[in-house]
């Protein structure tokens, strides 16, 4: 099975000998041949050489011809601002500058950068017949946003007919562009519509489903397969996307891969993604890239999955990271090594909580989003708030709002996974469930009993007699000695007559008696600072 067959089989959920790998090389191709993004995305030779270089270095199973979502917008009158290391950005929106939908036209094959893409696709097709070629078209909603600006969001409510009309136009643009790319030799048409992540499922079904549902059959009728790309937090729309019946859905790291896997399995379509673009591929090293790829492969399973970055690869992605992914994908042994390699990634500063809760008080930690803005969190905090006064000074409660870094570290340290959660002395006790009054009291009482037992076990103390001279000491000493005797207690008695030492107890008038108890907080190891802080808080 060659690379192209591998991709096409995975797209159709057919059995494959290994997971196919499709690095989305866009302007990154420019970096590979040392030209900037402008020179890369506008020049035929550069585009061609960049793709050739990427194929040579990454040995991919599939590759896009051009990854630039501004091609259609540019032709339709959006002004572009170019930068050296990124695809261009749209800076003006013709529909807000006096133009109407009627003034727009379906781009002809001769317009803008389409000829450049067509020619490149044809050449690459001829040179690399065994690799799957992706043609990328701007999805209808993203193109509509380019044309109409952010007002489009509000127009969805205020002028639904207008928005529908605009999306129908954008749908026709996508269909035309798809046809150009398929004729030039592309095997797969990816409809890339990242901005749909910003709307609800209801609006998706109201506005996006109809146009997209017409694009996919048009592509299939011309013999190509379809992929629906989204990026950003679009988890709520995955099912609606699947219902548009593409062959494949491709997502980025914002959406859990297992979630998409399960939906795609139900809908009998394939899926792809979702390697981390920034932290791993751009800023990480080869091991990071391999581990991330392995995680994706393990989560996704072997059926209907295409390994790919979440989106367009950053210009400066170190090629070594991508080469490392290629080695992993093609070498089962490498996969085994990575699977067993302990994760060496630096974890955030997680305090050691093994000693948490070794204080006199019972500490109740409530991990919340924020009780002021999350109703379940609010009820949970209130349930504790109501009970706490019954235990007077024994119970102390705290809310940890996970919008703060420290709270996230705390949450991680206590291994709390759900919000809201109640922990009693560091032990997860109520998860996403507001406990009843009696239930909460019982839980606290249980913990108090445990502690009492522990306390009796570890108690150790001293009694100090403070006097400025022997006379003063002797006034008190016989009394204390008698008391110890009568109790049969094993308590050392310490006499202190040094003036400075007496003052250090905060005592000015003598004779005086001070008792002290010692509690073993840790043995044979140094405790962590956060844990020690908890102990010190008890002393204040």
């Amino acid at each position: 099975m060659n690379s192209k067959e591998l991709v096409l089989s995975a797209m159709k959920r057919l059995p494959v000998p290994r997971v196919p790998w499709v690095p989305f090389v866009g302007c990154h191709g420019g970096a590979l041949i040392c030209v900037n993004a402008i020179e890369y995305l506008t020049n035929e030779n550069n585009l061609l050489n960049g793709i050739r270089k990427a194929i040579q270095r990454y040995n991919p199973d599939g590759i896009p011809v051009m990854f630039d979502l501004q091609v259609e917008a540019e032709i339709l009158g959006c002004e572009l601002v170019w930068s050296d290391e990124n695809p261009p950005a749209v800076s003006t929106h013709p529909l807000t500058d006096g133009k109407t939908i009627k003034d727009l036209h379906i781009p002809a094959i001769t317009e803008g950068r389409i000829p450049l893409i067509i020619k490149t696709a044809k050449t690459i097709r001829g040179e690399f017949p065994d690799i799957a070629l992706y043609g990328l078209v701007t999805g209808p909603f993203t193109l509509a946003m380019h044309l109409a600006g952010t007002d489009l969001f509000m127009k969805m409510y205020e002028e639904p007919v207008y928005v529908e009309k605009l999306l129908q136009f954008c749908r026709d643009v996508s269909i035309a562009m798809s046809a150009y790319y398929i004729d030039a030799g592309c095997d797969i048409i990816a409809v890339v519509d990242p901005l749909t992540s910003q709307i609800s499922e209801e609006q998706f079904r109201q506005y996006i489903t109809e146009p997209v549902k017409k694009i996919f059959p048009a592509v299939k009728n011309k013999g190509a397969l379809t992929s629906f790309f989204v990026c950003g937090q679009a988890q709520h729309n995955i099912e609606a996307m699947a219902d548009c019946q593409p062959d494949n859905i491709s997502i980025d790291e914002n959406i859990p891969l297992d979630f998409v896997r399960d939906i795609c399995e139900q809908k009998n379509i394939s899926f792809g993604g979702n390697m981390q673009l920034t932290m791993t591929l751009l800023l990480g090293n080869e091991t990071d890239a391999q581990q991330n790829a392995m995680e994706c492969i393990q989560t996704a399973g072997n059926t209907g999955f295409i390994l790919a970055p979440g989106c367009d690869l950053p210009y400066a992605t170190p090629p070594e990271n991508l080469e490392a992914v290629t080695r992993l994908v093609r070498d089962p042994y490498q996969q085994q090594v990575i699977s067993t390699l302990e994760k060496h990634k630096s974890t955030p500063d997680i305090p050691d909580m093994s000693d948490y809760g070794v204080s006199d008080k019972v500490i109740i930690d409530i991990i919340t989003l924020d009780s002021e803005s999350c109703a379940p969190c609010q009820y949970m905090v209130e349930s504790v708030k109501q009970i706490a006064p019954q235990f007077k000074n024994i119970v102390e409660w705290r809310e940890h709002k996970i919008k703060h870094k420290e709270s996230i570290q705390f949450m991680t340290a206590l291994m709390v996974k759900n919000i809201p959660t109640i922990c009693i002395d560091g032990k997860i006790t109520f998860v996403s469930r507001i406990p009843g009054k009696q239930e909460l009291i019982q839980a606290i009482q249980k913990r108090i009993n445990e502690k009492l037992y522990h306390k009796i076990r570890v108690r150790k103390g001293s009694i100090f007699i403070l006097g400025r001279d022997d006379n003063e000491i002797q006034q008190v000493k016989p009394v204390v000695e008698q008391a110890i005797r009568e109790l049969g207690a094993d308590v050392p008695l310490v006499e202190i007559s040094d003036e400075k030492e007496i003052l250090s107890f905060g005592i000015t008038r003598t004779p005086a008696v001070v008792t002290a108890t010692y509690k073993i907080k840790s043995e044979e190891k140094a405790p962590s600072v956060p844990v020690t802080k908890e102990w010190i808080k008890d002393l204040l």
Binding site: V81, S83, D84, E85, N86, A89, S91, M145, T150, F153, M154, M156, Y157, E158, Q198, I199, S200, Q203, C231, G232, Q233, Q235, H236, L277, T278, M279, L282, L283, P314, Y315, A316, P348, L369, D370, E372, S373, C374, A375, K401, K403, H404, K405, I408
Partner: protein, 219 residues
């Protein structure tokens, strides 16, 4: 709560701008934030109370957003309803009778020309009671610093949509901290993460407009 204020709060939460507005469909032909605020002022209701009612409405839509029950279009409709209220309350701000939560200076960092995300954040933050100073796109560190000079005590928001420009955030934060060590800076944008925000010593990362509001209200 005064009934009128309660109604205004609902208009904000549901994004009902004025009587003529078709959205939301179940509130068609009803008075919106615009008419109700005017009436409240005419009735002599304290503008601070009106503002408080609005904030409750914004908070509710914010909660829905956080729970994935509302999305950007709904947030924007609420922000638009809020703008209608603000038009009536503006004279009271100027006279000093009503206080805003603070000043928020926002811009897309140097080299980055993406406007959409930053604009959405600006609109929603403004709707939540902050004075927003939008510096636009491709904002240099010097420009951020000049804005802080002009608006002491402000909180700065930086947006970057590109992996190449997000590195400029770090430089801008360093520049700001050198001149205004106490200034809080929050960051956002597609390629960012909490991990990255920590790395560049930002005071917070927000994944969406409501996240930015939560951060700001938390400071």
């Amino acid at each position: 709560m005064n009934d009128l204020i309660g109604q205004i709060s609902i208009c904000i939460e549901r994004g009902k701008v004025n009587k003529a507005a078709p959205y939301p469909p179940d509130m068609r032909e009803q008075d919106g934030a615009d008419e109700l605020t005017k009436q409240a002022i005419d009735d002599g209701i304290d503008p601070n109370e009106i503002l408080h009612g609005c904030m409750m409405g914004m908070q509710k839509i914010g909660e829905k957003f956080s729970r994935n029950e509302a999305f950007v279009p709904e947030l924007l409709m609420s922000a638009k309803a809020m703008t209608a209220v603000m038009a009536h309350l503006k004279p009271f701000f100027q006279s000093g009778n009503v206080k805003r939560k603070g000043k928020f200076v926002i811009g897309t960092v140097a080299g980055d020309l993406h406007d959409i995300g930053k604009k959405l954040v600006a609109m929603v933050v403004e709707g939540n009671g902050w004075d927003v100073i939008d510096l636009g796109v491709d904002v240099s560190a010097d420009k951020f610093i000049a804005a802080i000079d002009e608006h002491p005590g402000c909180i700065v928001g930086m947006s970057a949509l590109l992996t190449t420009t997000m590195v400029n955030m770090e430089k801008s934060i360093q520049g700001i901290r050198a001149k205004h060590p106490g200034t809080k800076v929050i960051v956002g944008g597609a390629p960012l993460s909490t991990e990255y925000a920590n790395k560049i010593h930002a005071d917070g990362y927000a994944a969406d407009p409501q996240g930015a509001v939560n951060l700001l209200n938390g400071f």
